[in-house]
């Protein structure tokens, strides 16, 4: 196994995992039927698309940028798939390819504007979000059901892991994407350059890293990832609609922060983000189990969690800067 970085870097991840376990424990104690494998697996089944999109978002945030267009791209993906199959009678393979190609192009354009035209990422991806949503409605104002047999098959297939515990194919897709991102962020030059840019972009340039190329590629990849998430979303909802995934980017960002990613860039782990999504999911599950609370309590709870994490992160950063514990060095 690779020589992992020293423990201090893993502390945020450990905290997040503990939080998840803690929440699961609380849920199990308070509610009957909570402590089951299926409950845990459903977290993945219901949030596969969010996991995928949050991975892309994490990568962008680590690089020091932000991508607000991911939710809109998911909606646009569903619309492209739905429309092309229902109205243009495209085969599913072509529709999927079209989505991936278009979303990548979309990400590329955003990346270009940010890198070479010096747009602020916030503004560029905000405009991207507007354009993507607008395009959805330009294609079709209402929902389009997805009735293609391939999609329905994938949507309904369940892989049984053990008695009473099954996952959908979308979960498998999510894990494949996760594996790809772990490889990218920890074992490729591209991924390490992203961390470097997030740490100090100017230094990265002076060190000779291909900063501009990496940035454009990262945004393109984010677009591509949103496309995958969009297709997974199709499997999940079996419909196309311009108002799908509204404000999903905020959930993705929240998941990244709860997972230990710093908004200032340079710090974060994709595995942490996955747990961030799971935590959001388990909060929702607890509230569903509770039964009486309306689902908008989830929003408040997640906001509270986000607040807690941000404040703690902030305190830790302040502590680190003031104490400046200098590590000892030997002279040989």
């Amino acid at each position: 196994m690779k020589n992992l970085r020293i423990n201090t870097n893993f502390i945020p991840l450990i905290i997040t995992i503990c939080l998840f376990c803690g929440l699961f424990a609380i849920g199990s104690v308070v509610y009957r039927g909570f402590f089951s494998m299926q409950v845990v697996l459903n977290l993945f089944v219901d949030n596969a698309f969010l996991i995928i999109v949050a991975l892309g978002e994490t990568m962008i945030i680590i690089m020091g940028g932000i991508d607000l267009s991911v939710g809109a791209l998911i909606a646009l993906s569903t619309m492209i798939v739905g429309f092309s199959m229902a109205n243009l009678h495209w085969p599913p393979a072509l529709a999927i390819l079209a989505v991936l190609a278009f979303c990548s192009l979309f990400g590329f354009v955003q990346g270009y504007l940010i890198t070479y035209r010096k747009f602020q990422p916030f503004i560029a991806t905000l405009c991207g979000m507007f354009v993507a949503r607008g395009l959805c409605f330009l294609i079709n104002q209402d929902t389009i059901p997805i009735k293609d047999p391939f999609f329905i098959t994938v949507a309904t297939t369940r892989i049984k892991l053990m008695d009473g515990a099954a996952i959908s194919l979308t979960v498998v897709i999510a894990f494949v994407v996760l594996a790809a991102y772990i490889y990218l962020t920890h074992y490729t030059k591209f991924g390490r350059t992203i961390y470097a840019i997030g740490g100090n972009e100017q230094s990265a340039r002076l060190m000779g890293l291909a900063v501009d190329r990496t940035k454009v590629l990262a945004y393109t990849l984010s677009g591509f990832t949103s496309g995958i998430a969009g297709i997974v979303f199709c499997f999940y909802m079996l419909s196309a609609f311009g108002l799908h995934a509204v404000a999903l980017e905020m959930d993705a960002i929240a998941a990244a922060v709860i997972g230990g990613t710093l908004m200032t860039g340079g710090v974060g782990m994709v595995v942490g983000t996955v747990f961030g999504v799971l935590i959001e999911g388990i909060v929702q599950t607890i509230i569903t189990f509770q039964g009486t609370l309306n689902s908008w309590w989830t929003r408040i709870a997640i906001a509270f969690l986000l607040l807690a994490f941000i404040v703690v992160q902030r305190i830790l950063v302040i502590r680190r800067e003031s104490k400046k514990r200098i590590r000892p060095v030997e002279f040989i």
Partner: protein
């Protein structure tokens, strides 16, 4: 004297040009392509027409843009304003509502609480929201985007809490005056904005507020070392942003005569940011121009109206807004590039070295 002239030139010069230019282009386009766009007719002593319509509909956005300008000038941002708008609408609608009673043999609606109390409560809650954001950003030093993200996520939930998940309809007539009433022939909300604008401009130009905010936005460390109370100023800007969102919420609730906590103010924070950017303000903070943002809000609204008038589906507004912003940004960045190349006063060798 020289300096005073130079001062005037700088003020009128670069910053206001672009937003005014953009607005003029838009209006000119409308003039040529849309029948009767500039027509104003008087019905019942009230002025009606596309221009009036734009002004009227733009008022909530103008309020938002004013608050957003200050926050962005300090180098931050407030993406929670839409949620605060929803909360404000929720508070006021719950407190007013409208119970049907019989007075003098006629059906009438009275409000649950005195209207003044309801208005004050809504505004107070909004200001508290702004203070909350300010606490996170100014006192705890949390990144503005992240800090206001919390209220963005929680805010709608809180608004839903207040209205118990329902869409609350308001029946109390006097309340409608805010959003739908007329004064001197023009919609009342325009006067609200004008009055508020005057107040803010006074604050910015006639007190040290503007100078302090520009200093803090340009260089927060130097400002602190010069003795400015950075925390207090930044906090105040977020409070004002909350206030603006609250007033906007009142106008919207009054226009729509209800409070829909789910969709009220959806995406308006994005419109507000666009308005500020269109107004020539930099997202990085520092120098700011409130008037520019107000014009920016008009541009955004005019765009929307133009698109409706042409007969294009409403969702296209989103695409057009985005493309317009992209275009403006591209032009602005080109302008900045060429400005740097041909500097009016060539920097001395020493200053270049210092910069390099």
């Amino acid at each position: 004297m020289e300096d005073k002239n130079k001062l005037k030139k700088r003020l009128i010069d670069y910053q206001m040009f672009w937003p005014l230019f953009a607005l003029t282009v838009l209006l000119a386009f409308n003039f040529f392509f849309i029948k009767d766009f500039f027509a104003i007719e008087i019905i019942d002593g009230h002025l009606y027409g596309s221009l009036i319509d734009i002004l009227n509909r733009a008022t909530p956005l103008m309020f938002m843009a004013i608050g957003m300008t200050l926050v962005i000038a300090t180098g931050g941002i407030d993406i929670s304003v839409g949620s605060v708008l929803a909360i404000s609408g929720a508070v006021v609608s719950i407190m007013i509502g409208g119970d049907m009673v019989f007075l003098n043999g006629e059906q009438q609606y009275v409000s649950h609480y005195p209207i003044v109390l309801a208005l004050l409560a809504a505004i107070a809650v909004s200001v508290v929201c702004g203070i909350w954001n300010g606490l996170l950003v100014a006192k705890l030093g949390i990144q503005a985007m992240v800090a206001s993200l919390i209220l963005l996520v929680a805010g709608r939930g809180i608004a839903q809490l207040i209205t118990d998940g329902n869409v609350v309809t308001i029946y109390y007539k006097p309340f409608f005056y805010i959003g739908s009433g007329f004064l001197l022939g023009l919609p009342f909300s325009i006067f609200l904005v004008a009055a508020f604008l005057v107040l803010i401009l006074w604050l910015v130009k006639k007190t040290a507020f503007g100078l302090f905010v520009e200093a803090i936005g340009s260089n927060v460390v130097s400002s602190r070392f010069t003795g400015l109370n950075v925390q207090r100023m930044v906090w105040a800007c977020y409070a004002i942003s909350g206030l603006c969102a609250g007033i906007a919420g009142l106008i919207v609730a009054s226009e729509v005569k209800s409070a829909d906590s789910n969709s009220a103010g959806m995406f308006i924070e994005l419109d507000a940011i666009l308005a500020v950017v269109l107004g020539g303000n930099s997202m990085a903070g520092g120098r700011f121009l409130v008037m520019g943002s107000v014009i920016g809000a008009l541009i955004v609204q005019a765009l929307t109206t133009t698109i409706y008038a042409i007969g294009v589906p409403p969702e296209v507004t989103m695409v057009v807004k985005a493309l317009v912003v992209v275009a403006i940004y591209l032009i602005q960045s080109q302008a900045v590039k060429s400005k740097v190349k041909t500097q009016a006063t060539p920097p001395t060798l020493k200053s270049k070295e210092a910069q390099a």
